[in-house]
């Protein structure tokens, strides 16, 4: 369990447990979860660098507005707060940098 991470609240039911791939890492998540939240729960906070100053950025507004949680999925830039987790999802963080 990563030291700094969002914490899934106990109780209730969640979508099926699935594995997604984030860069070279396998990450456990629940189907239907917001990808940005699943990344936070896995301790993955730094998603990109700002293009000008190059400072680390992560999810901020979680409602589709700020564009800070951009990642690359299937080659396309997507806001991870607008993408639901599905099994086998392949996610690349740091989308502005050479892969």
């Amino acid at each position: 369990m990563p030291e700094h991470a969002a914490v899934r609240i106990r109780g209730g039911q969640r979508g099926a447990r699935v594995t997604i791939r984030v860069d070279l890492q396998r990450v456990e998540a629940h189907e239907g979860e917001m990808l940005a939240a699943a990344l936070m729960a896995a301790g993955i906070y730094r998603l990109r660098r700002s293009p000008n100053a190059g400072t680390a950025r992560g999810a901020f507004c979680l409602m589709g507005v700020c564009q800070e949680c951009l990642v690359r999925i299937g080659g396309e830039l997507r806001q991870s707060c607008m993408v639901p987790v599905v099994a086998g999802l392949e996610v690349a963080t740091m989308p502005g940098e050479a892969q």
Binding site: G12, R14, E33, A59, L62, Q67, R78
Partner: protein, 474 residues
């Protein structure tokens, strides 16, 4: 030929849903569009797929709204982004099925609000999130944003988030509230006009008190620090206006800072269509000029809910009902008598909410003195890394309004399209130029309303789908 409706409603939060339901009930053909996968907006946001949570009041109301929408005759486009609106009205939507366009002679903009965060050094660090973002994580994802959380900002959202974090067993390092006990007490006469909502707030305060969370009134965030994510949060005293004041600062170890300084109306559609706008600090900034029924200055365009000025969820429902009925009346689907009868109750209801809504809006309105206290080196525009000093340099170099300042600095030119920085950047420019806030104007509205991946516009098609015109006769 674009599919035609009597009415298009953009935004399926409380205001948009109620507007669509009211119009649909009277036989108006309605299209309801939202970028989320389900109705509810942010306040009644649906839980993530597969997630079943113990419902709070907002969740139960959201389920009721979603049930009524599902049972209605309303045409739905959820998970779709409106990226352009043209007069007339033509609405261009990008979504899973590629691009679609719709037309209707009437349009209700119910696009809600987004959060304002007044910048401080370190607010761009991963692990700093909005207060609204924290509620979304808790309510729709069943997650706490971190293990040791600092909550900061102002207004009722601070109490709501704190009570939800505690109820879920989370740890709050401290709460820093720009307001003091006197400011909260001053709202009481108005708040008590809605005893139900007042009791809810009191319940949150009791939860926080019982948990013995350190609450620092009249304190604001001075800085968030860490190598590439938050590790410490420094808070310090502010005066009654929100300006940083002399006194000891407190450094707190935390992995998360959730911070918010009120809400900004998402009024891009009225702006794009060049409806008349007015600056109303209490209502969150620039809002479309609307009458009590939601009609803007443009015939056929209505604006309701927090996107037309911050009022909160309950008044938004009633405003939506009024605009939906008015659209049905304007479309000739209800008689004058039925209309007068049906608008009477929501009109009275909305008026009775006004003192409560005003009291909460006042706690959340942008404090000019807080903006004046932003350090020169602090980033204001997150997308383009534009600092306060650069905005002031642009003012000194002759930028007179926000659009000129944008051209000088690139502030507001990034992918969030000025949503995160716009209100504060305009305040800084006005202060720098020593002119009233309205004199520096607002960003010119232009399509696309949101960044849209090209793939979403193109969609998928086969070679056979490409229309080949019949050759002209020789």
């Amino acid at each position: 030929m674009s599919p035609a409706f009597d009415l298009i409603v953009i935004g399926a939060g409380p205001a948009g849903c109620r507007a669509a339901l009211a119009a649909s009930r009277h036989g108006v053909s309605v299209l309801l569009i939202d970028e989320a996968a389900a109705a509810g907006g942010q306040v009644h946001r649906a839980p993530a797929g597969g997630l079943v949570l113990k419902l709070d009041e907002d969740g139960a109301k959201g389920d009721e709204l979603r049930r009524r929408i599902a049972q209605s005759a309303i045409t739905l486009r959820f998970g779709c982004r409106v990226w352009s609106v043209a007069s007339g009205f033509r609405v261009d939507v990008a979504g899973h099925g590629g691009h679609e366009a719709f037309t209707a002679p009437r349009l209700i903009a119910a696009t809600g609000a987004y959060e304002r965060v007044v910048p401080f050094p370190g607010w761009t660090l991963p692990g700093v999130i909005g207060l609204a973002a924290a509620t979304i994580l808790i309510k729709s994802q069943g997650m706490l944003p971190g293990r040791r959380i600092v909550l900061a900002g102002c207004g009722p959202l601070l109490l709501l988030v704190a009570s939800k974090v505690l109820a879920a067993g989370g740890e709050i390092a401290a709460i820093a509230d720009l307001s003091g006990p006197a400011d909260w007490l001053a709202t009481l006469p108005r708040v008590l006009r809605r005893p139900g909502l007042a009791m809810r707030g009191a319940g949150w305060a009791v939860t926080i008190g019982r948990a013995r969370v350190p609450v620092h009134f009249r304190h604001g965030v001075r800085a968030a620090t860490g190598p590439d994510r938050v590790e410490r949060v420094e808070i310090g005293p502010v005066d009654r206006s929100g300006a940083p004041a002399a006194g000891n600062t407190i450094s707190l170890a935390a992995d998360t800072l959730a911070v918010g300084h009120g809400l900004v109306p998402g009024a891009e559609i009225p702006r794009l269509l060049r409806a008349d706008m007015i600056f109303d600090r209490r209502r969150g900034g620039w809002v479309p000029q609307v009458d009590e029924l939601g009609r803007t200055s443009l015939p056929g365009l209505y604006a309701v809910g927090d996107g037309a000025g911050i009022e909160g969820a309950e008044p938004a429902l009633l405003a939506g009902e009024l605009a939906g009925l008015t659209a049905a009346r304007d479309a000739g689907r209800i008689s004058a008598a039925t209309y007068e009868h049906e608008v009477a109750k929501p009109s009275r209801g909305r008026a009775s909410y006004a003192p409560f809504a005003d009291a909460m809006a006042d706690l959340m309105a942008l404090r000019p003195e807080q903006v004046a206290g932003i350090p020169a080196e602090a980033v204001v525009c997150r997308c383009e890394d534009v600092t306060r000093a650069e905005i002031e340099n642009a003012a000194a170099a002759g930028a007179r309004d926000v659009n000129q300042m944008k051209h000088f600095t690139r502030c507001g030119m990034g992918p969030c399209q000025g949503r995160m920085c716009g209100d504060v950047a305009a305040e800084l420019l006005a202060q720098s130029r020593k002119v009233p806030r309205h004199a520096v104007g607002y960003w010119t509205g232009r399509p696309p309303l949101r960044p849209v991946p090209l793939a979403d516009l193109v969609g998928s098609f086969d070679y056979a789908d490409i229309p080949i015109p019949t050759p002209a006769p020789l």
